[in-house]
C-alpha cells in the first residue's frame, strides 16, 4: 500500500465534519450579523421583514446626548487603563521572562489571577474597598479597576513574544557596551513591539467591554458604553440598542483586522 488514499467512508466523514464545522461557524457569526440590518428599520419593532428602511435610530443615537457622553467616558477609561496596563504588564513580562526571575511560576500564577477570579467577585470587592478610599463614582477608580483586570492579558501576550526572542541579542548588545536600558530600547523593544501593541489592544478591548465592575463602582458621571447598554437592554430593548450594537460590531471588526495584522507581523519577524 503506497498511497493511503482515503476510503469512501473516510471521504464522507471528512465532508460531514466540514459541514458540521461550517454550521458551527454560522452559529458563531450569524446572530451578530442578523441584528445589523434591524438597526436600519423605521419601525419600533426589532423584527423581520423590514418594510421601512431608515436611519431613524441612528439619528436618535446622535440626538440623545447620553450615548455621546458614555462613549467619551468609555474611551477615556479604556485609553488610560490600557496605557497603564501596557506599561506595568510589559515591565512585568520582561522581568518574568528573565532567566534569573525568582519564584517565576508562583508569581505568574498570581499576576494572572485577575483574569481567573470571577469578575463579580472583583467587582464586589472593589466596591467595598474603593468605598473606604473614596474611589467609587470616580474616573480614577474605574481606571484603576480596569487596569487590574487587563494587565494579565498584556503579561500573556508580551511574554509570549519574549519567549520567541533570542536572549543572545541582548547579551551581544551588552558586550558591545550598551547599557541595559539602551539595549532594551534599541534591540529588544523593536522586536517585541507587535506583542506589546497587541497586548495594549487586548487591554483596550477588555476595558471597553467591561460592565460588571462598572455596575458596582461607576456613578452616573462615569457610565460607560456597556453600562448604558446594560440598562438599555434591561429596560427597553428598542432599535437604538441595535444601532449601538452595529456601531460596536463595525468597531470590533476594525480591531480584529488590526490584531490579525499585528499577529502576522510578529510571526513573520520570528520565522525570518
Amino acid at each position: 500500500m503506497s498511497d493511503p488514499s482515503l476510503t469512501r467512508f473516510e471521504r464522507n466523514s471528512v465532508r460531514l465534519t466540514f459541514a458540521a464545522a461550517w454550521l458551527v461557524i454560522l452559529f458563531l457569526v450569524l446572530p451578530i450579523i442578523v441584528i445589523m440590518p434591524l438597526s436600519f428599520t423605521g419601525d419600533t419593532l426589532l423584527s423581520y421583514p423590514i418594510n421601512d428602511w431608515s436611519l431613524r435610530w441612528y439619528r436618535v443615537l446622535l440626538e440623545q446626548p447620553i450615548w455621546g457622553h458614555v462613549l467619551k467616558n468609555s474611551l477615556i477609561i479604556a485609553l488610560a487603563s490600557s496605557a497603564l496596563a501596557t506599561v506595568l504588564g510589559t515591565l512585568a513580562a520582561v522581568g518574568l521572562t528573565r532567566p534569573m526571575c525568582p519564584a517565576r511560576g508562583t508569581l505568574t500564577a498570581f499576576l494572572l489571577l485577575p483574569m481567573i477570579v470571577p469578575i463579580i467577585i472583583t467587582g464586589v470587592a472593589s466596591y467595598f474597598f474603593y468605598t473606604k478610599l473614596g474611589l467609587t463614582n470616580s474616573f480614577a477608580g474605574m481606571i484603576l479597576a480596569h487596569t487590574i483586570l487587563s494587565t494579565p492579558f498584556v503579561v500573556i501576550t508580551v511574554s509570549a513574544t519574549l519567549q520567541g526572542f533570542d536572549g543572545n541579542q541582548r547579551r551581544a548588545a551588552y558586550i558591545l557596551g550598551a547599557r541595559p536600558l539602551y539595549a532594551f530600547r534599541t534591540v529588544v523593544m523593536p522586536q517585541i513591539l507587535p506583542g506589546i501593541v497587541s497586548g495594549a489592544l487586548f487591554a483596550f478591548v477588555i476595558s471597553f467591554d467591561e460592565v460588571i465592575v462598572a455596575l458596582f463602582i461607576a456613578g452616573g458621571d462615569q457610565y460607560t458604553l456597556p453600562r448604558q447598554m446594560f440598562s438599555g437592554i434591561r429596560e427597553n430593548l428598542d432599535p437604538t440598542i441595535a444601532a449601538v450594537a452595529t456601531v460596536m460590531i463595525v468597531a470590533s471588526l476594525i480591531i480584529l483586522a488590526l490584531a490579525q495584522y499585528l499577529a502576522s507581523r510578529t510571526k513573520r519577524r520570528f520565522t525570518r
Binding site: 458540521a20 458551527v24 457569526v29 446572530p31 451578530i32 504588564g89 534569573m100 470571577p118 456597556p226 460590531i249
Partner: protein, 422 residues
Amino acid sequence: MSATTVDQTDDQGGKTQASKTMRGQLRRANRARRLWAAALVAPLFLMVVVFFALPILGLLTGAVHSPEYVQTFPRSAEVVSQTDSFDEPFYEALYQDLLSAYETRSTGVAGRRLNQDLSGFSSMLRSATRAAVRGEAPPEGGYRDWFATQDPNWIAAEYQDAIRRTVPIYTDIFLLKAMDLERGPDGGISFVPEGRDLFIDVFIRTIWISFQVTLICAVLGYPLAWALTRASTFWRGIMLLGVLFPFWTSLLVRTAAWMILLQREGPLNTMLLGSGIIDSPLTMVFNRFGTIVALTHILLPFLVLPLYSVMRSIPNDYMRAAKGLGARPVRAFLGVFVPQTMPGLSAGAVLVFIMSVGYYITPALLGGPNDQMISYFIAFYVNDTINWGLAAALALDLIVITMILYFIYQKVTGTTRIGLGA
C-alpha cells in the same frame, strides 16, 4: 555595582583567592540580576496586591467577621459575653446602648444584622429607641419589663437566642447559611427546613449549567478545530475569522443579539413560524434555553482556539502509520488522534467551565428567575438586600470552586500560559 574590591588580607594562595573572588563576583552579579527581574515585576505585583488581593481578602473576611452588634451596642454585648444571661443587667445595658447608638446614628447597622438572623428586629429597635429617646424612663429596676411593654418579643427566648448569635465578632453563620445549614439552639449543625433551602440548589444549578455549556462547546468545537487543521490556507483564514469575530465583539452586543434573535417576535420565531415548523411562537428567552445558547456562543472560541493549536501540532504521520499497521479509520481516529488532542480539549474545557461558573451578565439578562447562578446571588445580596456577610460567604464558595478549577487547569496545561489564540 563593580566587584573589584578584592580581599587582600587573605593569604591562602593565589588560586583559591581568585576562585573565591570569582565566586563572589558571580554571586553578586546573579543577585543583581535577580534584583533587576524582581524590580521589573514589582510595580505590577504591588498594584495587584493592594488593589486586587487586599480587597478580595477584605471581602472574604466579611464572611466570618461581623462586628456590627459589638460596635453598635458595646455595653449589652459585654453583658452577654460575660454572663450569657438576659436579665436586668442586660436590658439596662441595652437601654443605654440604644441611647448612645441614637447619638451616633448607628442603630440601623446593628438592626440590619439582627434582622438577617431573625426578622422583626429592625422595627423593634426603632420603636424602642424612639421610646427611650422620648424619655420614657423605665421604672426603678424595671428595664426588662420596660422592654417587654415596648414589644413582648424583647423577652422571648427566640429573640434572645438571635442576640446571643449576633454578639460574637467572628461567626460561622453566613458560611453555614451559604450551604443551607444552620445552628440549632443546642449548637448542633443541621440543614435548614424544606422551603427555606436555596443555595445548594443554586450551586448544583451553577455547576449543571456550566457542565452543559462545556459539553456543548466540546461537541461543537471539536469538529470545528479539526476542520481548521485540514482546510486550505485560504479557507482556514476565513474560518478563523469566523471564530475570532465573535471573540472580539463586545459581550453586551452578543447578549443583545441573542435577546433580539430569540424574542417572541424575533427573527428566529418569525422564520420558524413562516416555514410552518411551529404554529405558535416559542419562548426561547428568559429561560434556561436562552442562557445556555448564549453562554455557549460566548465561550465557544475559548475552547476552539487552544484545541486548534494542539491539533495543529499533531503530525499526520501517526494516523497514517496506524492505518498502515491495519487499523480501521474509526479505530485509528479514536485510538491515535483523539488521545493526542486531549491536552488541548481538557485545557479548553476547563477554561470554559471556569468562565461559565462565574458568569454574571448573560444569565442575568437572558435567564429567568430559575436560571440565575451564584454570581447573581452575590450581586443580589450586595445590592438589594444588603446582606454583605452572606454575599461574602457565597463569594468565598465561588472563589474556592474557581481556584480548584484553576489548579486543575494548570496541572492540565503544565504551564501558566493561557491560550488566547490571537
